[in-house]
């Protein structure tokens, strides 16, 4: 097992280096440097441009900037935002819990709804319910997040007034961030009204962000279940006279879960990517919205650091899934 984990971890290193290099390079390929972007119509005298570029270290050769950056990263120093002058790591850590909270709830929503829907669809294959689930999940999968979010806001927030339009907490409340997870912080502060408000604010973004993973989970569960349900051991179990529920819930589901767990793990990347749009629509103060602003301002350190940290998170989750997969399915860890 240990050797399996070590092999997995060693595979992460080149990915990590690749991500670092790519983000470093890509943002510099975007035309306009951080100084030019904010200059506006006036332009800037060439001497002053040189002076400012020098101060930001942008006048050094690219490879040197990259090596310095890597050296910093290896020491845990992601640099300082060019715009706010705060440490990139501290900015990320301030905002990341908001993204994590949203992503976790979206995943929970996707799993809680998607898993049973997939199971039922598989068991009642060909039924109206099955076609319904497949149709809805295909629609959900193809839904442009921006449009979907606005539609829900117009319907539930403006039309019915059931949910707040955007934000994370009603402005009446002020809860000091301790963990950064609003649901936890409000409970810790004993502010139950604020807790409800936070939950309220989570509903729409959770649904919007959870829509694509929900579709994926439902479809994946369905096809995995179908495959398993056709296996000999299921027929055997049925032949033994086991109750239908027991066959499906224990024998079939357990085996069908293996690919589903992988898919859920892989959805973390989708979730964090989708969070960028979802956060922008719902004015959600997470890393997605922060990254968009960093791109617009050409805030190189913030963007590099942000992407790197997100990529690290995704890699960590994937690693965890791989390991979990090994635990769930011993054949995998033995075959390597």
């Amino acid at each position: 097992m240990l050797r399996f984990i070590l092999t997995r971890v060693s595979l992460v290193i080149p990915t990590f280096l690749g991500v670092t290099f790519l983000t470093f390079l890509l943002i510099r390929l975007v035309p306009g440097d951080p100084i030019e972007v904010r200059v506006g119509e006036r332009g800037i005298p060439p001497e002053r441009l040189l002076e400012l570029r020098h101060e930001l270290g942008l006048d050094r050769p690219l490879w040197q900037q990259f090596l310095d950056y890597i050296a910093g990263v290896l020491q845990g120093d992601l640099g300082v935002s060019l715009v706010t002058r705060n440490s990139v790591l501290s900015e990320f850590l301030t905002l990341f819990p908001a993204t994590l909270e949203l992503a976790a709830l979206a995943m929970l929503f996707a799993t809680v709804v998607g898993l049973p829907a997939g199971i039922v669809a598989a068991v009642r294959r060909g039924s109206v319910f099955d076609h319904g689930v497949m149709g809805v999940s295909l629609t959900g999968y193809s839904m442009p997040i921006f449009w979907w979010g606005l539609l829900l806001i117009l319907f539930f927030s403006v039309g019915l007034g059931w949910t707040p339009v955007s934000g994370r907490l009603d402005l009446l409340y002020y809860v000091e961030p301790v963990t950064g997870f609003m649901l936890v912080d409000t409970l810790m502060a004993g502010e139950y009204g604020a807790f409800w408000s936070a939950l309220h604010h989570l509903v729409l973004p959770m649904i919007v962000l959870g829509t694509v993973p929900l579709a994926v989970v439902a479809r994946m569960t369905r096809s995995a279940m179908l495959e398993v349900l056709g296996e000999d051991y299921i027929r055997t179990a049925k032949a033994k006279g086991l109750a239908g529920k027991r066959v499906i819930g224990l024998h079939a589901l357990r085996n069908a879960l293996i690919p589903v767990v992988t898919v859920i793990g892989l959805q973390v990347g989708t979730l964090l990517g989708g969070a960028i749009l979802t956060e922008t629509i719902f004015s959600w103060p997470g890393v997605g919205k922060w990254l968009i602003e960093s791109i617009n301002r050409r805030d190189y350190p913030a963007l590099q650091g942000g992407v790197l940290l997100i990529a690290t998170t995704v890699m960590a989750v994937n690693l965890l899934v791989d390991v979990l997969y090994g635990v769930l399915n011993p054949r995998i860890r033995h075959s390597r």
Binding site: T84, R168, S283
Partner: protein, 533 residues
């Protein structure tokens, strides 16, 4: 950093949270469009960031609410010497500083604060010069380092500024956001604690609203400052709810989650007008969008060609199509909200026949080929340069001119235009200090016609330049007005630009809001605003 910042406002914030459910306090929620860089207008460069620092600070002088006129601020009055080189400011007594958990002021604002604030931006050896990046863009852009000879403290409440040359717009510069006054005492206190960065993150000012807390990218809270020298604001609390998407801002306004919304989607304007719960305010922005003819290149060195192009393009149709109600055709290079705007000027009519004749006179009976540069990005004065260029291209084709649309990435675009690589190029300008000099000298003066300068027509016309330079050296506003009016006449005759449009800025405001005034500079100010309960 974040923790400290929040800690600073925590006491007040807790009080705010407790007080809020009682509904007694008047809290105005402004759905702002983005997150600020920090809370110091000296180092800020965007309207979004000015908006968040302006409630906190005062300047020596300030623009009147909703106008470009300069009125007293921390300086009660000021004298200008005969030669126009010395400005003596007499400071207001009893202007109180805000306080927070780390800082309790022991004195009122005085001359030391004024010196401290200007020296921070001006002197490279000032202990706070490097804080928050130390790029004082506006201080430098307004040429303050060249302009200032000395700033002296005469006594605790008198400060003397001496200039190197006569510059009438100087007083308007001091009303710009960058010239805010920070507390020297607060700076000292922070320096002792080794927390100098905090000065721009947990701001202390003398302004009408006191900073309470900033939750990054989400909410900024202020409360009215009881001891404000101008009298406590009618509001009790001011909250900025950061909402980057325009459609969502409108939804929040409709759902009652905010009271004031900037930058609505043009597509929503009609619906907003019909909504009885909303007042849609509009004002011409302090800007101009134009098409500059590079007079150093053929055939635009010939004034007949420039005039012909002015007549060949159906300006009204272009403005209607591109701005969709959010712009008015421009005839002068300065906007109508600015003093000295010459109403008497008549614009060139749309007349393709006369244009053709003029072109023939100039030796181009069959037209010619040229380029037409268009911005790749949306700007406040031009929502869609590409579309505008295509419409102009079609109009020009009717008089035989074949124009090729050229686009570059924004930074590159501006640089190349300023270098004068184009034949015809679109650009625009948003005013800084409300002074006509800021348009006429900066965009059309000879000094700016050098390669790399912002006069992208590269038009240096002595008669015009003399008038504008003379106006710079005249401190009497009535006399300056005459000079600028005359300069506009010459501009129109010589036609270095096709003046396209002034954009119209909209604000959607809930009917509960009382006495919100739009600011010609495009900044959002909340002192004096009230809420119906």
């Amino acid at each position: 950093m974040k923790r400290i910042l929040l800690g600073a406002g925590l006491g007040v914030a807790a009080a705010l949270a407790l007080a809020a459910p009682a509904q007694a306090a008047k809290t105005l929620v402004y759905c702002s469009e983005g997150s600020p860089e920090n809370f110091n207008p000296m180092v800020n460069t965007t309207g979004t960031s000015f908006d968040v620092s302006l409630p906190v600070y005062n300047n020596l002088v300030q623009f009147e609410r909703g106008g470009t006129k300069v009125v007293p601020g921390l300086a009660e009055k000021w004298d200008v010497s005969e030669d126009g080189l010395t400005y003596t400011f007499h400071l207001r007594k009893g202007a109180k500083w805000h306080s927070n958990n780390d800082f309790k002021p022991t004195r009122d604002a005085n001359a030391d604060d004024v010196l401290w604030s200007f020296n921070r931006q001006w002197k490279k050896d000032h202990p706070f010069h490097k804080v928050s990046g130390g790029a004082y863009d506006y201080f430098n852009d307004m040429a303050m380092p060249d302009l200032l000879k000395s700033i002296e403290k005469i006594d605790d409440y008198t400060v003397k500024f001496t200039l190197n040359k006569v510059e009438a717009p100087f007083i308007a510069n001091l009303a710009m956001p960058f010239a805010a006054i920070q507390s020297a005492e607060y700076a000292d206190a922070l320096q002792k604690k080794n927390q100098i960065d905090k000065i721009d993150q947990a701001p202390i000012g003398t302004g009408p609203f006191q900073f309470v807390a900033y939750q990054k990218d989400a909410v900024i809270r202020y409360k009215a400052f009881d001891q404000y020298w101008g009298g406590k604001a009618p509001l009790d609390n001011l909250v900025f709810a950061i909402t980057p998407d325009a459609a969502v801002r409108y939804a929040k306004l409709k759902a009652g989650e905010c009271h004031i919304v900037p930058y609505p989607n043009p597509a929503d304007l009609e619906a907003m007008k019909k909504d009885s719960a909303i007042t849609l305010m509009e004002q011409e922005g302090l800007n101009v969008g134009y098409l500059a003819f590079n007079v150093t290149k053929k055939p635009f060195d010939d004034v007949r060609v420039r005039r012909a192009l002015n007549m060949a393009i159906d300006k009204k149709a272009v403005v209607d199509a591109v701005y969709q109600g959010a712009g008015v055709p421009a005839k002068n290079p300065i906007p109508p909200t600015m003093w000295s705007y010459n109403k008497e000027i008549e614009d060139y009519p749309y007349d393709p026949e006369r244009a053709k004749k003029l072109l023939a006179d100039a030796g181009f009976p069959n037209g010619f080929e040229t380029d037409l540069w268009a911005m790749p990005v949306q700007r406040p004065y031009n929502p869609n340069a590409k579309r505008m260029a295509e419409m102009m291209q079609a109009d020009l084709a009717k008089v035989g001119i074949k124009a090729k649309v050229v686009q570059y990435e924004w930074g590159e675009y501006r640089k190349r235009l300023q270098a004068g690589e184009h034949q015809m190029g679109m650009l625009g300008w948003t005013g800084d200090n409300g002074d006509p000099d800021n348009f006429l000298h900066v965009l059309l003066g000879c000094e700016a016609a050098r390669p790399g300068g912002s006069n992208i027509a590269k038009w240096c016309y002595k008669e015009f330049d003399d008038l504008v330079l003379q106006a710079k050296r005249t401190t009497d506003t009535a006399a300056r007005t005459k000079l600028y009016e005359q300069a506009q006449v010459i501009f129109k005759e010589e036609a270095p630009w096709l003046t396209v449009a002034h954009s119209v800025v909209h604000m959607a405001v809930s009917k509960n809001v009382v006495d919100y005034k739009m600011d010609p500079f495009g900044i959002h100010r909340f002192y004096g605003v009230d809420l119906k309960q």
